[in-house]
């Protein structure tokens, strides 16, 4: 079953520039898709369409059976979008309050909110920090909090924009581990990254974008040899003719 169906999507910004150009993309429920491409190729713009933050100028985006233009709230709940900069998506005064923000906006009742907050904090191993002030967390913890914040809304799809940017090695490993275990528990993962080294061993499908268009789309072993042409550095292991290795080993 396809959880995301994008047909002929074009997006033109108010200033007239073309952000996305005739994109066709379907994503199967439970898959792990990596969207890559050089800076300015339209990755972030595409993710914002999945979440109903931007609407198509032409074409359609259908999330879990409903068009985003008809029902943006449905899209926002079905797709949890984790932004590149965690500092500007943390709104709570404490870690647990921040996680509760989304469910509160869904007008769930208080017991359900508390249960979800507790569960999500447990999953992301943030429970000991529940009453901390978010601004004092480390980079990796902030990123996990940002993931927790959208996870509490029980999305089917987790869309992550450059989740490893500005993370150190331990931070990257923490976040990577969480993303993989969320995938194992049945979430569809859509992730963007211009630097694919950290995730190369795990993606099931790689979509390469260039100038707002989908340039390549396929399983990693087909796509990776061609990456250089589209401004993305292929994984090191490939150059040395070795098998891809997970960062978690």
């Amino acid at each position: 079953m396809n959880v995301i169906e994008i047909q002929n999507l074009t997006h033109r910004f108010p200033d007239g520039s073309l952000g996305l150009d005739h994109i066709d993309l379907t994503i199967r429920a439970g898959s792990f898709v990596l969207i890559t491409g050089e800076n300015g190729s339209g990755k972030t713009t595409l993710l914002k369409h999945l979440n109903g933050l931007l609407f198509p100028t032409a074409g359609s985006v259908i999330i879990d059976g409903k068009g985003i233009s008809e029902d943006p709230l449905h899209a926002r709940q079905a797709v949890g979008l984790v932004f590149q900069n965690p500092d500007t998506q943390i709104v709570g005064e404490t870690v647990s309050e921040d996680v509760a923000f989304g469910p509160e906006n869904l007008c769930l009742d208080r017991n359900e909110i508390e249960k979800r907050t507790h569960d999500v904090l447990t999953i992301l191993k943030l429970l000991p920090l529940a009453s901390q002030r978010p601004h004092l967390l480390s980079g990796g913890e902030k990123r996990r909090l940002a993931i927790a914040g959208v996870l509490a809304m029980k999305p089917k799809v987790l869309a992550l924009d450059e989740p490893f940017s500005s993370l150190d090695y331990p931070g990257t490993k923490q976040v990577l581990k969480q993303i993989l275990s969320l995938h194992e528990s049945g979430h569809t993962i859509v992730m963007t990254s211009h630097d694919i080294e950290k995730i190369a061993a795990h993606a099931e499908r790689v979509v390469v974008m260039k100038k707002g268009k989908v340039a390549l789309d396929g399983p990693p072993d087909q796509v990776f040899p061609d990456l250089e042409r589209f401004g993305v550095r292929p994984p090191c292991a490939l150059r040395w003719g070795k098998p891809l290795e997970s960062w978690l080993i």
């Binding site: 914002k48 979440n51 109903g52 933050l53 709230l73 926002r76 709940q77 979008l81 932004f83 900069n85 500092d87 500007t88 998506q89 709104v91 709570g92 005064e93 404490t94 309050e97 923000f101 989304g102 469910p103 509160e104 906006n105 869904l106 007008c107 769930l108 009742d109 208080r110 909110i113 009453s131 901390q132 002030r133 601004h135 004092l136 967390l137 480390s138 980079g139 902030k142 914040g149 959208v150 809304m153």
Partner: protein
């Protein structure tokens, strides 16, 4: 226990005296509506009170400050400019109030009445600043928001949800602004802006990137909130007030009345 991590920024935001500190003291647990009414009543009484009343209120404020353990020195350090300003006001009062002069020889134009009135004013303003500081340090912005929403609700034509959301967003935005300022300053200092003595040049180079950054940050924040379904409606926060809360409020109100009437 935990090392200070993150941007230099987080540290800056941590130094703001007027921000919420998580803790579990009595004052933190005091029902927010009763707390708000108590603090408003105390502030108004402070304005009206004479020396004896001020003494009583000072005792209350000192007790309240003792709940913010370990931060007292920091608070006075952070308030130093305010205190300096108050002192300036005190001096002006001392000299400008007519009455019997204190010093004849050498002659200094200070009057007894002036010292008394200036002293009271100094004291009152300091007490009110400390009261609001205690309130803000012990109350979560989300609770403040909920209390405001409920106070505004009976007033017709006031969109209480939106008003309350606006106030909390403003509180939420202050640390971001301070972080941004600190970052820009540091970046410019590393490129030797201190060699420029012209203050207008420096202000221009601080404010332009600051506002550009703030608009960008505000845009990102709004987008992130929207993506998490932020809108008019949300689950109301549970506020629970027990007998003890109302008892405390009654005590404060009676105390205030007595001070005003005495």
């Amino acid at each position: 226990m935990r090392p200070p991590l993150g941007k230099a920024a987080g540290v800056m935001a941590d130094l703001i005296p007027f921000s919420y500190r998580n803790n579990h003291t009595l004052l933190h647990r005091y029902d927010v509506r009763c707390k708000m009414l108590s603090f408003i009543a105390l502030s108004l009484t402070t304005l009206k009170a004479e020396a004896f009343g001020l003494l009583l209120i000072s005792c209350i404020v000192i007790t309240a400050l003792s709940f913010l353990k370990g931060r007292i020195l920091v608070i006075f350090y952070e308030l130093r400019f305010f205190i300096f300003f108050l002192f300036f006001v005190f001096i002006i009062r001392t000299f400008s109030t007519p009455g019997s002069p204190v010093f004849q020889n050498p002659w200094i134009p200070a009057t007894r009445e002036g010292i008394y009135q200036g002293g009271c004013l100094f004291w009152k303003m300091l007490l009110i600043a400390l009261l609001s500081l205690v309130f803000i340090s012990t109350t979560k912005p989300s609770q403040t928001k909920e209390a405001l929403k409920r106070f505004f609700r009976p007033i017709p034509f006031v969109p209480e949800e939106r008003l309350a959301a606006m106030i909390t967003l403003m509180i939420r935005f202050i640390p971001l602004i301070l972080d941004e300022i600190q970052e820009i300053k540091d970046a410019q200092r590393s490129r030797c802006i201190e060699n420029r003595k012209n203050p207008f040049y420096r202000i221009k180079h601080l404010t332009i990137p600051l506002f550009r950054g703030l608009f960008e940050t505000a845009g990102e924040l709004a987008e992130a909130m929207e993506s998490r379904c932020f809108g008019e409606g949300s689950t109301p926060m549970m506020l629970s007030s027990g007998t003890i809360d109302w008892f405390c409020l009654a005590m404060v109100l009676v105390g205030c009345l007595l001070i005003i009437l005495s």
